[in-house]
Symmetry: C2
Subunit: 213 residues, 2 copies
DNA sequence: CAAGAGGCGTACCGTACGTTACGGTTCGGC
DNA sequence: GCCGAACCGTAACGTACGGTACGCCTCTTG
């Protein structure tokens, strides 16, 4: 397991700095890891000296960019006052659909690509950041729902982590690795919805309580 | 979908050339994508000129290395003369276990990392090569087993591709992306075996025929 | 043994890019 | 209106690395 790498999203970012990071982000999506500091400066209409003053060096800029994007995708957790099979199903489908939308987005693909590329040559911890705000953030948001489902007698499982990982696998399947490797998987709004429903039904078939309350 | 990118594994590789590629492979595992031609030459005890003569340029060397590794992991397909639930289960577990072993190996992680890094900046087609010899090769080997299971009345599904992708998801779950991003997932022989059994049971629960023959 | 090919080691070139330095401009505060 | 700080644009520096050239060695072939 990696370090918590807790992100304090605020960190006092100026409007201007956020704009610069947005520019860097757009450039990252277009150019991948071979963006240059000069290009970022030009795109953001700022000087390189400012970039170095604000972010230290190239790696600093990259991590700041990744964290900045991460701070934007924070999705609201689902409310669970009245929990019946219908609302549980809806929640799971919503999570699945949101997740598929995220991992198939241009920015997510670009960010994961550079993070994967940087992992191993342990210069920075982009991988940890992406992991924390991707896979682990999803787990943190979904597990309460699973626990609530178990409390309500709708789900049966021993370990929430294992249940979550199964759901994760049923939803994502081969999509993320294929996208990262450059395969153009067709993911329209419709197929995402269908996949979300299918994954949810499969999950319920595996972990749904046999005798409902 | 990417181009077929059919690999002719032989391509007349000299013993010496294979040795050079092995050196490059080892270096790739150690250094990641920032290996230099000089380092490869030194490690392989050959001159850079030879590298360029044999492989054209850096990308050529990389693709040759990836293909060379790919040509080594070709796993034998399972025989299926007597197909009952026991042998089908064993086959599936074996596939799952082999697959987990592959994706958690150092070389696979390194290769996937550089392929992911290169995808998008469409210089070469490392992503296609890795995909063909990874995810798609697995599908080609596993689908006949699934079809045979259906023929024998042990499995029920409409689309073999969909069934395969579900199996893929149940086996891999979050393992590959976590490994690629640098998370140190604990994957001992024992846990791999357990995961393979669990995934297989879940798959059978979802796609096993209700009334066995 | 002579000739030539293939290959090793190394020096070298060109370039791209990270990083730094500097002059000019805007802008808020006195 | 003046001062200093922040910042823009750009030029300059240093280095790392992809790619090439060349001299020397070794081994095969006639």
């Amino acid at each position: 397991m990696l370090q918590p790498a807790e992100i304090d999203t605020s960190e006092a970012l100026t409007e201007r700095q956020q704009a610069v990071l947005d520019a860097a982000l757009r450039l990252l999506v277009e150019e991948g890891d071979n963006l240059t500091m000069t290009a970022v400066a030009r795109r953001a209409s700022c000087s390189k000296e400012t970039l170095y003053k604000w972010f230290g060096d190239r790696d600093g800029l990259l991590t700041a960019t990744v964290q900045w994007q991460a701070s934007k995708v924070r999705v609201a957790a689902v409310d669970r006052d009245t929990l019946d099979l219908g609302s549980l199903t809806a929640s799971l489908e919503r999570f699945a659909s949101d997740w598929l939308k995220v991992i198939s987005s241009d920015t997510s693909i670009a960010l994961n690509r550079v993070a994967v590329g940087h992992a191993g040559s342990g210069k920075d911890d982009l991988g940890a950041v992406v992991l924390q705000n991707g896979r682990f953030a999803l787990a943190r948001r979904l597990k309460p729902v699973l626990e609530a489902g178990r409390q309500a007698g709708l789900l049966e499982f021993d370990d929430a982590e294992t249940a979550f990982r199964t759901f994760f696998g049923l939803v994502g399947r081969d999509v993320q690795i294929r996208l990262l490797l450059g395969d153009r998987v067709e993911l329209t709004e419709a197929t995402i919805g269908g996949d979300a429903r299918r994954a949810t039904q499969q999950f319920l078939a595996l972990f749904g309580a046999k005798n409902r309350p």
